[in-house]
């Protein structure tokens, strides 16, 4: 214990501290204005993000239940950055909301849960983190208090989460039954590939697949994304997904390494399904939030291609891609959040002629969409290229060809939005919007990230140097 305890758990402790600060503000007698609270929270989140870069150390705590190293710290920093951007983007929505403090408390609780999940060295600890990250999220999905759709989304989220938790727990208990341990390092030595164990593994795998909305476990995604407030939609599709993928990669590559042949085939099948179905459904959407929901399903398909590479380059490309994905997807959601909070419009139709009235927002959204589609010079190109390259190292070119074809399909629907904004005529385009400074800052961070993360190769080099594979 001692000083090591504080250094190893600094990110978790900081978030807990912020939660407590917010709690004190809440119970204190002084009435705070929403703007003040938001300013304080944003500064705290920035400090939280920055603190991740100092005093890093590798080590284990609590009987190997909690482990951390440079890579895990980096992953958490990535998530912190995403939360900071989301918080900036939510400013115009939360400014008039009654429960700002509760919003942030719940949000940070889920983030804390994700951190524990990423750092877990034990199946039980993993489950604990996962639940902590899920239950407050359902409350958050309901945060548009007057909207029925929001409650519906929350209910769907909690039901499907409960179901996937059930699968996961069932898997964990059988895994414990066959291997006699829940500790990750011991578990990997006790994997013998017996039928019961494989069944347990499949259940665990399905639990993950639920969380990162892999087809055919994706059915909750679109409705929940559409109903939730935009801030939560972006949180679900970027932060929550990113965290689960980080954990997924770690668990697959370390604990279930002996079963690599089995999960390679599962990943192959699921990634093809996810890319194809995600893309086909995204083509038909007219609500931008639903559209991004399906496109983010398709993106997960590409990520699975990278994971299937199971090399050092595979891990690195997945983390690199998620970093880029945070910038691109949040860039897109940022514009949509702004438009939605000021005008209430969310349809692709509404964005016709958007360029005439809001050229800067249009360019922001366009760059973000191009990055999602993987068009150079945006960072998305590098991210996708490296993901698929990592997958190609296995020599399975069927998968690569399918992925490449899916990139064309995805380009089609991203271009559809670009076309609506630039080319289509509209008698009543969205009027000129006044952008607050926080949203502006968020958009600048996102666009800057999209432009720079690709060219500046040391970001990838750094991630690669921390990554491991087999």
């Amino acid at each position: 214990m001692g000083i090591d305890f504080f250094i190893l758990m600094k990110q978790e402790l900081l978030i807990a501290l912020i939660i407590f600060i917010l709690l004190f503000i809440k119970v204190g007698s002084k009435e705070w204005k929403n703007e003040q609270v938001l300013n304080i929270v944003n500064v705290l989140l920035l400090i939280n993000f920055a603190a991740g870069f100092f005093g890093n150390k590798e080590g284990m705590l609590f009987n190997d239940m909690f482990k951390t190293n440079q890579l895990i710290v980096l992953e958490k920093c990535t998530l912190n950055l995403g939360v900071f951007i989301i918080s900036l983007q939510a400013y115009s929505w939360l400014k008039n909301h009654k429960h700002v403090l509760e919003f942030y408390m719940l949000l940070l609780c889920t983030l804390l849960g994700m951190f524990y999940m990423i750092s877990s060295g034990n199946l039980l600890m993993f489950y604990l983190g996962l639940e902590l990250s899920t239950i407050p999220l359902a409350a958050l999905a309901n945060f548009d208090l007057e909207k029925r759709k929001s409650s519906e989304a929350a209910f769907k989220l909690i039901m499907s989460s409960a179901f996937s938790s059930g699968l996961l727990l069932f898997g964990i208990s059988m895994m414990y039954g066959t291997a006699g341990t829940v500790n990750f390092t011991e578990l990997s030595q006790h994997l013998d590939g017996s039928e019961l164990q494989l069944f347990a593994f499949i259940l665990l795998f399905a639990g993950f697949a639920f969380k990162i909305s892999v087809v055919p476990f994706h059915l909750w995604t679109a409705d929940v994304y559409e109903g939730s407030p935009v801030a939560i939609t972006s949180y679900l599709s970027v932060i929550s997904k990113g965290a689960f993928i980080f954990a997924f990669v770690a668990v697959l590559y370390t604990v279930f390494k002996p079963l690599a042949d089995i999960w390679y085939n599962m990943l192959f099948l699921l990634s093809v399904l996810t890319m194809v179905i995600g893309n086909l459904f995204a083509m038909r959407q007219n609500n931008l939030k639903r559209f991004l929901a399906f496109s983010s399903i398709a993106q997960v398909g590409f990520i699975l291609v990278g994971i299937s590479g199971s090399s050092q380059a595979g891990t690195a490309s997945v983390i690199y891609f998620i970093l880029i994905y945070i910038f691109s997807n949040l860039g897109a959601f940022g514009v949509i959040a702004l438009v939605s909070s000021l005008t209430g419009k969310e349809g692709i139709e509404d964005y016709k002629g958007f360029y005439k009235t809001n050229p800067l927002l249009t360019w922001g959204l366009t760059i973000a969409l191009f990055s999602l589609a993987g068009i150079p010079p945006t960072a998305g190109f590098f991210g996708k290229f490296f993901l698929i390259m990592a997958g190609a190292a296995k020599g399975n070119y069927t998968l690569i060809i399918i992925a490449a074809l899916n990139m064309i399909v995805s380009l089609y629907y991203y271009l559809r939005v670009v076309k609506a904004m630039f080319m289509d005529k509209n008698d009543q385009p969205i009027e000129k919007l006044v952008i607050n400074n926080y949203s502006k800052l968020a958009l600048v961070i996102c666009v800057g990230g999209i432009v720079l993360t690709g060219f500046v190769s040391w970001i990838y080099d750094y991630i690669y140097s921390l990554s491991t594979g087999f």
């Binding site: 068009i375 190109f381 690569i400 076309k419 630039f422």
Partner: protein, 501 residues
């Protein structure tokens, strides 16, 4: 000489454009940028010439190699040989002509010129790349500006054309992507380390079955950019919907990316597969040439005429590559340069006519020579060059391709050559018919009588392109001397590897 200036200069111009206010500043900055590009291209040409005459026989000159993504062995590796120089000069010519031609563009001029310049940056980057990753990067950089240029500033069914073009070109680059990855994972520079470096890969012997597997991906992928039959369908729609300058860029520069890629990546790096599949390439190219020519006959719209004739003319490029003799490949490169200049001139002339008469239908035009002697002359010159009149570049290039093709002794290949030759007659028919109807004869519409001839910027643009065409037509040996060492290398390489097998 830092060759990457060729990319940096357009990028700086594009960034400068972002800070411009008003039409005047935008025009000035783009014109300065385009002139600087041309000057730079000439400087590169002269320096290259000096190096060569000083006896420097390195395959690539002015090489630069920076590590980009070290763990994946991706480098920013650039350099030029004769073929790249020819392409760079072509690009610089067309950029300047295109900027001049769109001088009057007042609808969102900043965005328009920004995209044009960005497109040129992609093209330069592609032509100087010696690393497959860098090359692919620039290839895709050039796709999106085209989509926006056609979709926003185009005419007719522009959204459809823009989408079709973007998706088909993206499909092409997806195939290229698979081909490049397949190549990458079969290279070995020691210790199981793979590389994207073009020169290093050319020194290795990629196993024949690997070549046979990935050659089609690379060749068809690049072929889509270069209007390979049956993937040429984006060409007519894209060209006819695009604004004038974008048509010039599209036909003049961007279709050349395809031909260059087919030659430099597919054929050069996978020569065994190129030999094995050459009959398919020749077959498709011959179909494209004949089909393109006959399809052109049926067109009534001037832009469609030029677009379909581009399909036919680009067929000669692929025919030259597919024939795999030294002369035919030289001819293919010459045809790329010649077709680039000629078709840009053609589109410029059509644009000028359309701006004044507001129609591109051959049937509605007539007697333009009386009111617009300059434009009509330009139009006639472009037409004559297109049908291969001696004295213009078209003759030189097509002649070289035919001579080279005939050197391939196989009977079927000779039949293909004869058929391709015969298409020239069809070309003559449609060109003379279109030119005769629009330029000569009675004036079909009385309000044409009040139309004005070309303005100074249009005269400059057309003059520039005509100089290029005539220079190649009269003194083809310059271009020939520039290209031949490079095509020699490619051929020696191919022959060497074939005999090893």
């Amino acid at each position: 000489m830092n060759i990457s200036l060729l990319v940096i200069l357009p990028l700086l111009t594009a960034i400068a454009l972002l800070f411009c206010k008003g039409l005047k500043q935008v025009r000035t900055v783009s014109l300065i940028g385009a002139v600087a590009q041309l000057a730079l291209a000439f400087l590169v040409l002269i320096l290259y010439w000096n190096e060569r005459s000083a006896g420097n026989t390195a395959q690539m000159l002015f090489e630069l190699n920076y590590t980009w993504f070290a763990p994946l062995h991706i480098n920013f590796h650039v350099g030029v040989d004769g073929i790249s120089i020819a392409m760079i000069a072509l690009t610089a010519f067309i950029v300047l002509a295109g900027v001049l031609m769109s001088w009057k563009e007042d609808r969102m001029p900043k965005e328009f010129f920004f995209l044009l310049i960005l497109l040129s940056a992609g093209a330069y980057g592609f032509f100087i790349s010696l690393d497959l990753f860098t090359m692919f990067f620039f290839l895709e950089v050039a796709v999106i500006p085209k989509f926006l240029l056609i979709g926003i500033w185009g005419s007719g069914k522009k959204e459809y054309s823009a989408m079709k073009l973007a998706l088909m070109l993206m499909g092409g680059s997806a195939l290229v992507f698979v081909g490049l990855l397949g190549l990458y994972f079969n290279t070995d520079i020691g210790g199981g380390v793979h590389t994207f470096d073009l020169l290093q890969i050319s020194q290795m012997h990629i196993p024949v079955e690997v070549q046979k597997m990935f050659f089609p991906f690379a060749f068809v992928g690049f072929g889509i950019f270069g209007a390979l039959f049956p993937f040429h369908t984006w060409v007519p729609d894209g060209h006819s919907s695009a604004p004038t300058a974008a048509s010039m860029f599209l036909a003049g520069i961007s279709m050349k990316l395809g031909g260059y890629g087919c030659l430099r990546v597919a054929t050069y790096l996978m020569p065994d597969a190129a030999h094995a599949y050459s009959w398919i390439i020749v077959l498709l190219a011959t179909i494209a040439i004949i089909y393109g020519a006959f399809a052109t006959m049926m067109q009534k719209d001037l832009k469609y005429i030029n677009a379909y004739s581009s399909v036919s003319h680009c067929g000669f490029v692929l025919l030259g590559i597919g024939m795999l003799t030294q002369t035919s490949i030289t001819g293919a490169v010459m045809q790329m340069v010649s077709h680039g200049l000629m078709t840009a001139l053609f589109f410029a002339a059509i644009g000028m006519i359309y701006n004044r008469t507001h129609t591109r239908m051959v049937a509605q035009l007539g007697g333009l020579l009386k009111m617009m002697p300059f434009i009509s002359t330009v139009f006639v010159i472009a037409g004559l060059c297109s049908l291969g009149l001696p004295g213009f570049s078209g003759f030189v290039a097509e002649m070289t391709v035919f001579m080279g093709s005939w050197q391939n002794p196989d009977t079927m290949y000779r039949i293909a050559t004869i058929l391709a030759c015969a298409s020239i007659v069809v070309t003559a028919v449609y060109i003379l018919r279109a030119v005769g109807k629009t330029v000569m004869g009675p004036v079909t519409d009385s309000h044409y009588l009040s139309l004005k001839d070309a303005s100074w910027n249009e005269k400059f643009a057309a003059g520039l392109l005509i100089i290029g065409i005539v220079a190649i037509g009269v003194a083809p040996f310059w271009l020939n001397e520039l290209i031949t060492p490079a095509t020699d290398t490619i051929m020696q390489h191919a022959v060497k590897l074939v005999t090893i097998k």
